[in-house]
Point group: C2
Chain length 161, copies 2
């Protein structure tokens, strides 16, 4: 259950995410900032660290989600809201889904990101099926494929998520 | 440019990823393992650490990509191949796209993951547009939206990716 933020909250948090993004550029990073606001009202920040950390997954939203989860000592951020200076790419949307983020608000869109030289719009085309050539993905049948799931099923102490 | 691995290489690396996945279950983790093989022939491992680390993004493939990028001191893994014990979910595919992974091979599929209780198949439906209700995503026009991209454009020292 997510309590809908007010319009003024949305504007305020988006401005804060934009401020993080602009400051990150000045610090040598990418032009992206994000916040995760958890149901307890705490604000968890993230900025893009891809080039600084040599981490292709260190998008602002992913960093904010990882920070919020670690600070909350849980992998389940149900009821949290994600604010991003720019429309989250598929990586960030999928991270938000797995984190059980309740809703997402953003300011600039994927075309603005593309205009700045980023591949968000292109990767959306991968996921809508129009650019499968970007990365071939193939299944190979191997006899042991089900062994990990069987071990998981047989483990009474498994932590499900 | 990715040199296509041989069928025996694919089988061997998938078996190795499956072995990591099964060992991770025994260690209390999720039933997923992955390898990134970089063009220099080095093998970078990853297993699922979501529950152990309270990190909803710590999927085996993401961990392997982050490990490979850090070990290679680059955010660009062009020419690398990703092997996964199970079909990568949208988070992992997007991470691979951003990392410029050349090709992906997997053993078990998303239905096997669903059968084990994981939401991979459900999140694929989010990306094919049939389940937008899973997470509302909304744009709000704020006056400062373009400020970070303008700062990026004006920064002659920006590191593009």
């Amino acid at each position: 259950m997510v309590t809908a933020p007010s319009a003024s909250d949305i504007n305020r948090f988006l401005d804060q995410a934009i401020g993080l993004a602009a400051a990150n550029v000045a610090a040598g990073g990418g032009p992206f900032g994000a916040l995760v606001v958890t149901p307890d009202g705490r604000i968890h920040e993230g900025v893009n660290h891809v080039t600084r950390d040599n981490d292709p997954t260190a998008h602002a939203e992913v960093v904010a989600i990882r920070t919020a989860a670690a600070a909350s000592a849980t992998f389940d951020l149900s009821g949290a809201v994600l604010y991003a200076s720019c429309e989250p790419c598929p990586l960030c949307l999928a991270a938000a889904l797995w984190a059980r983020i309740g809703q997402v608000h953003f300011a600039a869109d994927r075309q603005a990101a593309a205009g700045a030289g980023f591949d968000d719009a292109l990767f959306y085309e991968y996921f809508d099926g129009s650019r499968p050539d970007l990365m071939p993905v193939r299944q190979t049948a191997v006899p042991a494929a089900d062994v990990p799931f069987q071990a998981w099923h047989d483990n009474p102490d498994r932590v499900e998520y």
